[in-house]
Point group: C2
Chain length 349, copies 2
């Protein structure tokens, strides 16, 4: 698979530095779990599913490097590693889910050697599951796209964000592979420019026609009837179906509804958090204001000007036409449909 | 008056280069009308009223430099000057109104010397009228703002855009001068960053608290109930009340309506164009895609990626809570109210 955000081979983890894209492809060697924590914090790797996978490998690396031979001491130190990893970013739920799975794995094992091995295996399993989920949801979602459609996207939601195919970007790619001539209008996605830097890069590699616009132009094209659907990813989906996603998503959802254009969310079930009842309970990350006052290190605004930098917003479920997951496409009432998707007993039914 | 976009003194025109703000204040000496045309095209001076004033002075400079002593030859050459000036930018109507006034002035005069003098005087009159209109509409509009309000703005609408007080920015300034503690949330306004570069600079000079956000964050703050009103300028207002303004305005208007927040437009009557029946008839300028793929000269998107760059969008009048002009505040039905504002017979009544 091309364009993956990380590589795990023989117990070594490499992360593609997304801050350097599209101009340079720089692979960062992760020497320990702290490197992974820093890479997540600095958004060298980003996208909810990718963060979840990286965190799992990070904890496996942390376990490898804990010197303690005593199991109790080992678990105590591992707990510290998990806490540090969980503290990297607050909004994407995949991160916390990964950390919880790794912790549960450690508790289930007998000795330190065995635990290290089990943690490596669990990280690989999380990775494999995400890749598989991404592929499945991409092809399920592709059914919603028609030949000739123009899809409006926000942020980056290809394989760089979700190992495998991606989420919203994966749906576009799958439709393209089915022979549908899709065109993409890609929001640049200020302040971090994931759309301009990453989405355009991925689409170009896949040969999918793409037109870059500023976030403020989405309404213009929606209003002109030039968009067949808006398709985004998610960082956390509450039990109600409210969707936390990259800042600007809420505005797109409102504009889509106003213009009668469907608004689709694509995400693996690992992004659904039934323990969060509704969107207003989601912790929204506030990032460094310098990402807004500066542009790639250069000051744009006058010195001393304040800036706000919420990294995500919440789209109420009433604006969401469908949520595309690897277990099926959910529609209203989300509160029962999402629960059903996550219920193991119903899953096989 | 501080922070003016141009200076006319003893027949010489200087323009403050807004592409260099906020870091440097560079005044450009205009040697002839072509310099003015280039400055408008390259957005060294921008904002509908400011463009109108600059174009008038540009034509006065053009008239000064026409060598022809014969009146008919002179008028023919002046016609070329006016055509070039009118071709600089297509959306703001103030430009065409200024050019038309200058042309009418030339036709009314007897000899070349007299015509040159009359054109200078007419340009000064247009400038003075805009300054006065700006002051009046600012204080009229200030009545709509309450002590403690947070105002969301888009693009730049202070004195840099409209000589005197500004339009939307002028309303904020007038309310501030009345002692109302206004706070501003300023959209950065991609791709040209008028908000980050110019609005923040003006507000900082006036001592008005300002928080810079990306355009994509407006929905987040509106949704959280943190905004008391959205206040923007206009580049052209159709007879119906549809408003062409900086790209992104339409999205703000929809989000304001969705959240029950008033959406105000502030503009002198020189921006109202009764000959354009509705917004879909307004010519929207499409600018160089490099303004989107590049950021201050540096490429952001991968090489070869297409981009769109519509500079304006149209907000249907149904989203507009009020239009603030120097002759009063208009509300629905705009189609009759705007006509009344522009009717000389009703004006004095």
């Amino acid at each position: 698979m091309k364009g993956q955000p990380l590589e795990w081979r023989d117990g070594r983890l490499r992360i593609l530095d997304q801050t350097r894209l599209p101009h340079r492809q720089v692979w960062l060697e992760m020497d320990g779990y702290r490197d992974v924590a820093v890479a997540i914090k600095e958004m060298r790797i980003r996208g909810a599913p990718a963060i979840g996978v990286a965190a799992a490998y990070g904890i496996a690396l942390g376990a490898r490097d804990i010197a303690a031979g005593d199991r109790e001491d080992f678990l105590k130190e591992l707990d510290g590693v998990c806490r540090e990893m969980a503290a990297t970013r607050p909004t994407a739920v995949n991160l916390f889910r990964s950390v919880a799975r790794m912790k549960a794995t450690a508790v289930g094992e007998k000795d330190v050697l065995q635990t290290r091995k089990a943690l490596r295996a669990e990280a690989e399993r999380i990775h494999q599951e995400e890749v598989e989920a991404s592929r499945r949801l991409s092809f399920l979602g592709a059914e919603l796209l028609n030949d000739g459609d123009t899809v409006l996207t926000h942020c980056n939601t290809g394989a760089l964000a979700a190992p495998g195919y991606g989420t919203a970007g994966g749906v576009v790619l799958a439709a393209w592979e089915q022979g549908k001539k899709i065109k993409v209008l890609a929001d640049e996605t200020r302040p971090y420019l994931q759309g301009a830097r990453l989405t355009c890069w991925e689409l170009k590699q896949a040969g999918i026609p793409c037109t870059l616009i500023t976030d403020s132009m989405a309404g213009y094209f929606l209003g002109q009837g030039k968009v067949n659907c808006v398709l985004v990813g998610a960082d956390r989906i509450a039990a109600s179906g409210d969707v936390a996603n990259k800042i600007g998503t809420y505005g797109l959802a409102v504009l889509a509804a106003e213009n009668g254009v469907p608004f689709y969310v694509a995400a693996p079930v690992s992004t659904i958090d039934l323990s969060t009842p509704s969107g207003d309970k989601i912790n929204i990350e506030q990032r460094d204001p310098r990402e807004v006052t500066h542009f790639q290190g250069r000051r744009v605004a006058p010195a001393g000007v304040e800036a706000a930098n919420p990294a995500f917003d919440v789209t109420p479920h009433t604006y969401v036409s469908a949520i595309i997951t690897e277990r099926g496409i959910a529609r209203e009432p989300y509160v029962t449909r999402l629960k059903a998707l996550l219920s193991p007993s119903l899953r096989g039914a």
